[in-house]
C-alpha cells in the first residue's frame, strides 16, 4: 500500500469511526428521500395526480354524472358517482366530509339539468336569440385543496358540459335546420320551394373529440416527472454536500493537534494530500448515490411510488457526481480551515449546506420561488448540481447541455481549495 492509498484508507477509516458523521452522510439522506418522496407523492395526489376523492351527486340521472366522472378519470382523478342522495341529511353529511377534507370535491347535478339545458338550446334555435344560462351544477371544494385540483375539477365539469351542449346543439340543428333552410329557399326562389325536400345527413355527436391535444415534455425525458425522479437526485446531492461536516471536522482536528503539520512534513506532495482526500470523499459520494438509487429503484416502488429511472447519459451522470463531490470536498476544506471549533464547523457547515439547498431548489423548485430567491439560486452550488442532475434525470439531456453547471462546480471547488491552501500557508 503506497502513501497515496494509505491516505485514502486513513480518510475512510476516520469517517467510518465517526458514527455521527456516518449517520449524517447515509441515514439522513435516506430518511429525507423516503419521507419527502412519500409526502410529495401524497401532495401530488391531492394536487390531482391520483387518489383525490370526488363525489358526484347526480339527481338529474341522465348520465351526465358518468360523463363528468369520465373526464375526471381521463385526468387521473377517481370520482364516485352517486345517483341520488335521498335525504338532506345525507347531502349535509357529504358537504361536512368535504369541509373536513375526507372528500376533495362534491359535484351536484340538479334534477332536470339536462332537460333544462336541452330546452334552452331549443329555445335558442327556435328564436335565434341568446338565452341566458341558469346556474345549474354546483361544485363544493375542500377549502385546503390546491388551485391545480380545483381548476382540474372545474375543467372536467366544463368539458363534460361542453360535450353535452355540443351533442344537444347537434340534435337541435338536425331538428330545426330543414325548416330554416326551407324558409330561406322560399324567400329566395318563391313558394314553389316549399315542396322541395330538405334532408340533413346524420353527423357525429362526439363533441370535443375532433381537436386532438397531446401533452409532451420539451426534453427527451419521461412525460410525467414524478417525486422519485426529482427527489432521489436532489437529496443525493444534499447528502453529498453534507460531507462538508465530517470533512471539516477532520481538517479542524488535524490543524488543532498539528497532525496536519506532520502530514505536510512527510515526503508526500501537497497534491497527494489534497487529492487523496477528495478521492476518498468522492468514493463516499458514490456509495451515497448507489444507496439512494437502490432506494429509489426498489424500496420506494414497494411503498407505492414510481421507480427511479437512471438517465441514459451515464458518463454525464458520473461526471456530475464527480464535480459535485469535488465542490463539496473543496467547501469542506474551506470550512475546516476557517473554523476554530467543532461547533463552528458543524453549525456553519450544516447550515450553509441547508441554505444552499433551499435556494438551489432542492426543497422547492426554483421556478416556484419568488423572483428574488430565483435570482439568488444562481449562486448556490447545490443549485448548479441539481440543475445538472435534473437535466439528466427529468429532462433527459446529456453532457452537452449540462457542462456549464459542471464547470461552475469545479471552479467553486477549486476556488475553495485554493483559498484554503493559501490560508493554511
Amino acid at each position: 500500500m503506497n502513501a497515496f492509498f494509505a491516505m485514502i484508507v486513513k480518510e475512510l477509516k476516520l469517517l467510518w469511526r465517526d458514527r455521527a458523521g456516518i449517520l449524517l452522510l447515509f441515514l439522513m439522506p435516506v430518511v429525507l428521500v423516503l419521507v419527502i418522496t412519500l409526502v410529495q407523492q401524497n401532495v401530488l395526489k391531492i394536487a390531482g395526480e391520483s387518489g383525490a376523492r370526488i363525489v358526484i351527486v347526480d339527481d338529474d340521472r341522465h348520465g351526465f354524472g358518468e360523463d363528468i366522472a369520465g373526464e375526471l378519470q381521463g385526468m387521473g382523478i377517481m370520482a364516485a358517482v352517486v345517483e341520488q342522495v335521498e335525504s338532506s341529511g345525507g347531502r349535509d353529511s357529504l358537504l361536512r366530509r368535504c369541509r373536513l377534507g375526507e372528500i376533495q370535491a362534491v359535484i351536484e347535478i340538479p334534477t332536470g339539468f339536462t332537460k333544462a339545458l336541452d330546452e334552452r338550446i331549443e329555445a335558442v334555435m327556435r328564436a335565434g336569440a341568446e338565452v341566458k344560462a341558469e346556474a345549474g351544477i354546483k361544485v363544493f371544494f375542500d377549502p385546503t385543496i390546491m388551485t391545480g385540483l380545483r381548476a382540474g375539477v372545474l375543467g372536467a365539469v366544463r368539458a363534460a358540459a361542453g360535450r353535452l351542449e355540443a351533442k344537444m346543439t347537434g340534435r337541435a340543428l338536425k331538428r330545426f335546420l330543414p325548416d330554416r333552410i326551407r324558409a330561406a329557399l322560399i324567400a329566395a326562389v318563391g313558394p314553389a320551394a316549399a315542396m322541395a325536400p330538405v334532408t340533413i345527413p346524420d353527423f357525429p355527436e362526439g363533441g370535443g373529440d375532433m381537436a386532438r391535444i397531446e401533452a409532451r415534455n420539451a426534453g427527451r425525458g419521461p412525460l410525467l416527472p414524478n417525486a422519485v425522479q426529482h427527489n432521489v437526485p436532489a437529496w443525493s446531492l444534499f447528502g453529498i454536500f453534507f460531507i462538508v461536516v465530517p470533512l471539516a471536522a477532520v481538517i479542524l482536528d488535524e490543524r488543532r493537534n498539528h497532525t496536519f503539520a506532520r502530514l505536510l512534513a512527510a515526503p508526500v506532495s501537497r497534491f497527494s494530500l489534497v487529492s487523496s482526500r477528495i478521492l476518498a470523499y468522492t468514493l463516499v459520494a458514490f456509495v451515497q448515490f448507489i444507496l439512494l438509487f437502490a432506494i429509489g429503484a426498489w424500496l420506494l416502488p414497494a411503498l407505492g411510488t414510481d421507480a427511479l429511472v437512471l438517465p441514459d447519459a451515464t458518463a454525464a451522470l458520473l461526471m456530475t457526481l464527480l464535480a459535485a463531490s469535488f465542490a463539496a470536498s473543496g467547501y469542506g476544506f474551506l470550512v475546516g480551515v476557517l473554523a476554530r471549533t467543532h461547533e463552528q464547523a458543524a453549525m456553519f457547515g450544516a447550515i450553509s449546506v441547508v441554505v444552499a439547498a433551499a435556494i438551489g431548489g432542492v426543497m422547492v423548485p426554483v421556478y416556484a420561488m419568488p423572483p428574488m430567491m430565483r435570482a439568488a439560486s444562481i449562486i448556490s452550488p447545490l443549485g448548479w448540481g441539481l440543475d445538472g442532475l435534473l437535466s439528466l434525470f427529468v429532462r433527459g439531456v446529456g453532457l452537452a447541455e449540462i457542462w456549464p453547471d459542471l464547470l461552475r462546480l469545479v471552479i467553486f471547488g477549486g476556488s475553495c481549495l485554493g483559498f484554503s491552501w493559501w490560508r493554511l500557508k
Binding site: 498539528h258 506532520r262 508526500v268 506532495s269
Partner: protein, 254 residues
C-alpha cells in the same frame, strides 16, 4: 565548540530569519547553528522565544525569509521527498489520530514515509515495544493515558528511522514514568546514528540529554556550546541560572 563536535556538520543554519505574516518583529532573527551527526542538540528558551518556529523551519514547513538551512547538504524546504524522508518530527501537541489505535497510527505514518511489507511490520512492532505500548496497540489512542499518548506521538516520529528527529517539547505535562521512558529512549537514538534537535524549557532534561545546547531568546541565539563548559564559563550552577544570568529573566517567564 570543540572541533571534534563539528567534524561532520550534518545540519547547518546560517543567518536564518523568519517573520510571521502580520507580526511586528521576526520570530527568528539571524540564527546560525551547526549540528554534528548523532548529536542531541538542545534548543532552550522561554515560551515565544522562537523554538517552535525554528523546528518548523528545520522540518521544511516554513521557508526562511533569509538565510539557509542545510541538511546533509540539502535544504529541507526545497529538497523534496528525499530530504523529508530523513526528518522525523514530534510536535508539542499529540499529533496523532485519536480514533486510530497506536498500531494504525504507526502504520499510517510509516507508509507515508515509504515503508512497506516486512520492514514496516518490524519497525511498527519495534516502536510499539520500545514505547511500552505493545499491550495496548489495538486500543484507540483516545482511550490511552496522557503519557501513553506522548509515547505514541514520539513513536510516530521515529517509525521510519529518521536521520534527524525534531522534538518540540516532547514531555510536556506527562507523568514521571512516561517521561523516564521517553528520555531513556531518546538517549539511545544517537547511538543508532539519529541526530536530535530537542527544544524544551525543562532544564534538567536538557542537562541530561544534550551534548550541546543553544539558548535562544527573541529569535536570537544568545549562547551556544557544551552545557558544562557554558556553566563553568559563567560560573553558574545550572542552565536555569545561566539563562537568568544571560537575559535577566527566568526560563519559563516571558
Amino acid at each position: 565548540m570543540s572541533a571534534s563536535e563539528l567534524k561532520e556538520p550534518f545540519l547547518v543554519l546560517s543567518g536564518v530569519r523568519y517573520t510571521w505574516p502580520g507580526a511586528a518583529g521576526p520570530a527568528l532573527d539571524g540564527i546560525d547553528l551547526s549540528v554534528g551527526q548523532g548529536t542531541v542538540y538542545g534548543i532552550l528558551g522561554p515560551n515565544g522565544a522562537g523554538k517552535s518556529t525554528l523546528v518548523r523551519v528545520l522540518s521544511g514547513l516554513l521557508t526562511p525569509d533569509e538565510g539557509e538551512v542545510g541538511l546533509g547538504g540539502r535544504s529541507p524546504s526545497v529538497g523534496g521527498a528525499q530530504v523529508r524522508r530523513m526528518i522525523g518530527i514530534v510536535p508539542q501537541e499529540i499529533a496523532v489520530y485519536e480514533e486510530f489505535t497506536p498500531r494504525e497510527n504507526l502504520e499510517f505514518f510509516a507508509r507515508l514515509y515509504g515503508l512497506s511489507g516486512s520492514r514496516l511490520k518490524s519497525r511498527v512492532a519495534a516502536c510499539l515495544d520500545r514505547a511500552g505500548l505493545a499491550a495496548r496497540d489495538r486500543d484507540r489512542v483516545h482511550t490511552l493515558s496522557g503519557g501513553m499518548k506522548r509515547r505514541v506521538n514520539l513513536a510516530c516520529g521515529l517509525v521510519h528511522q529518521p536521520a534527524l528527529l525534531l522534538l518540540d517539547e516532547p514531555t510536556v505535562g506527562i507523568d514521571a514514568h512516561s517521561r523516564e521512558m521517553i528520555l531513556s529512549w531518546l538517549a539511545e537514538l544517537p547511538g543508532e546514528g539519529t541526530t536530535l534537535i530537542y527544544t524544551t524549557h525543562y532544564m534538567e532534561e536538557a542537562e541530561r540529554l544534550c551534548r550541546r545546547i543553544a539558548v535562544i531568546d527573541q529569535g536570537r541565539v544568545i549562547c551556544e556550546g557544551i552545557p558544562a563548559e557554558l556553566l563553568a564559563a559563567r560560573n553558574c550552577q545550572n542552565l536555569g541560572e545561566l539563562f537568568l544570568n544571560l537575559t535577566g529573566r527566568g526560563l519559563k517567564e516571558r
